[in-house]
């Protein structure tokens, strides 16, 4: 009984960790610029695909990982400079459509540069499951959970302790005021996009040994990440993490205890239920008038 519950829970947490990181990525960009970036899933794809192809080309894994993070960060800055910045004062919905166009472009490029096959990476610590109170857990799942926890901690530290992080928060709170006190808001926004892309890429690298990667893997992740974001409370980074983990847990526990066919439905029903009780999301404070 306990073993079964643990098995479902670990499964849910691993699946949810990716949603959580995508949700966190959404939040970082949303807080800095007010943009809901639906190309967020593509960063996860880039992280996985670049690493896979670099490793296949003979680059050692650690170097390939750094390369993938760098590529994603550059793509993030590029997305901001080429697509978001030129339409800076457009309405939020228009900006969302631009990011959807951006996602299409990134998928189109991935299809050309890489291929349309599924790919995997070897588990960082092998693929032999470890037994924990009767549940068998892949060591890579621990990498995913640990990696997510470390990323969340670092992102929190970044915002709380560094000058740049504080400047991002200032820009988010009031762009004009930030400009007046000498913050270069354009640079700050670029940093937000790069940071968001980098953590997406890291998530992509961490999960590729478990979930595989593919040039179209981002679409579903953007959807789930967005749901995580709303569930946790728009604008709160911890909310996005909590929302993502909860969403993953809902899905996998429903699959285990109720019905695997309708598990996604249960996840959404839980989500809508939570929102009816707590309209601003689990940890939300800010209310957004429009999406």
């Amino acid at each position: 009984m306990l073993a079964q519950f643990l098995q479902f829970t670990m499964s849910g947490l691993t699946v949810g960790a990716v949603y959580a990181v995508v949700g966190l990525g959404f939040t970082i960009i949303y807080n800095a610029s007010g943009v809901l970036n639906f190309a967020q899933g593509e960063f996860v794809m880039i992280g996985g695909m670049v690493t896979v192809f670099a490793v296949a080309a003979g680059v050692p894994l650690p170097l390939a990982i750094l390369l993938a993070i760098a590529v994603a960060a550059i793509v993030g800055i590029g997305l901001h400079r080429l697509a978001i910045e030129p339409a800076r004062d457009a309405s939020p919905v228009v900006l969302i459509i631009i990011t959807i166009g951006g996602a299409l472009v990134l998928r189109g490029i991935a299809q050309l540069v890489f291929d349309k096959q599924l790919h995997k990476l070897p588990g960082f610590s092998g693929d032999t499951p470890v037994n924990f109170l009767g549940a068998s857990i892949l060591p890579q799942a621990l990498w995913v959970l640990g990696g997510t926890a470390i990323m969340v901690a670092l992102v929190s530290l970044f915002f709380a302790k560094t000058m740049i992080g504080k400047a991002v928060l200032a820009t988010a709170a009031n762009r004009l005021a930030a400009q007046l006190v000498g913050v270069n808001t354009s640079v700050i926004l670029a940093i937000s996009f790069a940071l968001s892309a980098a953590i997406g890429a890291i998530a992509g690298i961490l999960v590729t040994p478990i979930t595989f990667t593919h040039y179209e893997v981002g679409t579903m992740l953007a959807l789930k990440g967005f749901a995580a974001l709303v569930l946790g409370g728009l604008g709160n980074p911890m909310g996005a993490i909590l929302g993502g983990l909860l969403l993953g847990l809902c899905e996998q526990l429903s699959a285990g205890y109720i019905s695997s066919t309708y598990k996604d439905a249960f996840a959404f029903i839980v989500m809508i239920g939570v929102l009816l009780v707590r309209p601003s999301g689990l940890l939300g404070s800010k209310l957004a008038e429009r999406v």
Partner: protein
């Protein structure tokens, strides 16, 4: 907004919609609507590559009786609605004489009526029985049906005295259709399905479903109808949970990619598939050996990707069509009649014997039961 600007926009839109490039009159135009992108891209991609590769080869050798083939391909992204638009385009605009394509059952069923109405032969590359049953005058198919896959698997289970099984299937078209066929024929083999689970096409962790299957007492084997990433993840989760009963996959994973993705977990998995995958291991006396070997080599050399039976279906479809045109010329009605008369054609999926009542023409003998051993295919029989 002035009416003039509206017209201007409309004119622009229309100009953009016009297709470019008029073909030479003597060329034989063959259409192909494939799911090159989207969830079925790992089927559609090798199909498209195969068609292009062989049309090029045929043309380099002077075409069919001196007439070159012009291949027109469209990517439907796996969407049945888009597929139908492209089918209409092939018929009305490109004026093809026949079509080889339709990667999934959904797109095939959606395009079928277009070719029926236009009276053009349509050779589908999708699996489900419904494509040829009930039979449609102009529609053919080259892959084995999912019902045959179920029968082949149950036959093997019966031989091994495995009568109580569990099933975990994908909710994509392939998995769903094969699951439905399996629950229709299992009783005939004396096999009882104790429990059923499903997973979505984009799911990444099936341990909850497999934990439930593991908990069923008396389960002797598990069968997993599905294609894409799902079966590879199921296979890995299966081993992760320490399940030891035999695992059967379907012909939907008949690509080396499955072994690459599933890794060591794939060892011991059995699946029904065309002999193409084991071309090198066939006895020299097997008449299928040279065809399968030649295709496998050509595909791997040209694409640097492992060979799959999916591309093989496109090869079979194209060659059946080319054979029909060679025999009777490029008139659609004659092509249809000639396709129906295909006898003893040795393809990658087996020997095709089409008749007026059988628009697939394959029997179970062409299907081999394979087992994955040491990361490679092996004949299980």
């Amino acid at each position: 907004m002035t009416p003039r600007s509206i017209l201007k926009l409309a004119a622009l839109a229309l100009m953009a919609g016009t297709t470019l490039g008029a073909a030479k009159a003597q060329d034989i135009k063959i259409g192909a609507v494939l799911s090159v992108t989207g969830p079925a891209s790992f089927l559609g991609d090798p199909e498209e590559k195969t068609l292009k590769m062989y049309v090029e080869e045929i043309n380099a050798k002077g075409g069919i009786k001196g007439r070159k083939i012009q291949l027109i391909t469209y990517d439907d992204g796996g969407d049945a609605n888009k597929a139908r638009t492209f089918a209409t385009r092939l018929v009305e605009e490109d004026k093809v004489v026949a079509m080889v394509g339709g990667t999934t059952t959904g797109t095939t069923m959606s395009m079928g009526p277009v070719f029926e109405d236009a009276q053009l032969p349509f050779i589908s590359l999708a699996g489900a029985v419904v494509i040829v049953e009930p039979q449609k005058k102009w529609v053919f198919k080259t892959p084995h049906t999912d019902r045959m896959a179920c029968e082949k698997i149950f036959e093997d289970m019966k031989k091994r005295n495995l009568t109580k099984i569990g099933m975990i299937s994908g909710t994509d078209g392939f998995g769903k259709s094969m699951r439905d066929e399996c629950v229709k024929v299992n009783a005939r083999f004396g096999i009882e399905i104790l429990a059923e689970e499903t997973y979505g096409p984009r799911d990444t962790d099936m341990t909850p479903q497999l934990t439930n299957l593991k908990g069923k007492s008396g389960m002797q084997a598990v069968i997993n109808p599905g294609f894409g990433q799902g079966p590879a993840i199921v296979t890995r989760n299966f081993r992760q949970l320490g399940l030891t009963v035999p695992l059967y996959q379907s012909h939907g994973v008949a690509s080396k990619q499955f072994i690459d993705l599933a890794g060591d977990a794939a060892n011991g998995v059995r699946l029904p598939a065309a002999a193409l995958l084991v071309a090198d291991k066939l006895p020299a006396s097997d008449p299928q050996k040279p065809v399968a070997q030649a295709y496998a080599k050509k595909f791997q050399d040209a694409t640097k990707q492992p060979v799959s039976t999916f591309g093989g279906h496109a090869y079979d479809g194209l060659m059946i069509l080319v054979g029909a045109i060679e025999r009777g010329g490029a008139d659609p009605k004659v092509i249809r009649d000639e396709i129906e008369k295909t006898k003893g054609f040795m393809g990658t999926a087996g020997i095709f014997n089409m008749t007026a009542t059988d628009h697939m023409g394959l029997d179970l003998s062409a299907f081999k039961m394979l087992e994955i051993k040491n990361g490679d295919w092996a004949l299980a029989e």
